[in-house]
Symmetry: C2
Subunit: 113 residues, 2 copies
DNA sequence: ATCATGCTTAGCCATGCAGCTAAGTAATCA
DNA sequence: TGATTACTTAGCTGCATGGCTAAGCATGAT
């Protein structure tokens, strides 16, 4: 399996959890420390840490430690692969629809005779 | 948690598996029977069945049985929620970048004085 | 009526994941 | 120095997921 593919899997996997999507939404407002991200979730710190690990592994966020505080931030271009995949699928799926349309048109023409 | 949200989770979850994405790609060429979908995966039928269940549950495919053959097909509009979520995020994330840009501009102006 | 085909169901196994507690480390504050 | 804060690590639990085999059921062909 291509790396491109496992990347996509990791991305989708990371985004499949509502808590993680909420964290991303929060980060869209700007960088935040781990505890700040944890507070609104109502989850314990270690749990949130693991979510952050998943997000970072998927390339969606970046984090760096300053003193005893770890600050997390979005990686803006991280959703690009997902966007291209989606666009690719759209073209494929619509191509399929076009062919279906052609087929229907042809059947109608044949029936018209 | 909103239904909208669990829908998104199911979508992402369903797309997080390469086998399932391969099945979707195959279906983009047109409807297919379960065995036809199973063959190229090299997996056993029950395993593929479960993948198909997941895809159907997520609303990505549709299936109907004719005789003893079950035929599966894409649901073209199924990716729409994902597209809107992505677009929403793009706006949010870019809004963030705009604000960052504003901030940088302001700092530069202040330093210029 | 019998047999082959195509799917379905039931159930097992290993692994992964989301949550937790408890205990550890490292930086800041009094 | 000692206490507090902010993560971090280790390890447990329960449930979900992806794979399998074996056996069942319904339909189509002979």
């Amino acid at each position: 399996m291509a790396k491109h593919d496992t990347d996509l899997s990791a991305l989708f996997q990371a985004l499949a959890d509502p808590t993680r999507r909420a964290i991303l939404a929060r980060l869209a407002e700007g960088p935040a420390a781990v505890s700040d991200l944890a507070r609104p979730t109502g989850l314990r710190l270690p749990t949130v840490m693991r979510h952050l690990e998943v997000l970072e592994q998927a390339g969606l966020i970046d984090s760096s430690k300053d003193g005893r505080v770890r600050s997390c931030a979005l990686v803006p271009q991280a959703l690009a692969p997902l966007r291209s995949w989606l666009e690719e699928q759209r073209i494929l799926w619509e191509g399929r629809l076009d062919r279906l349309e052609d087929y229907v048109m042809q059947v109608m023409k044949e029936q018209g005779q």
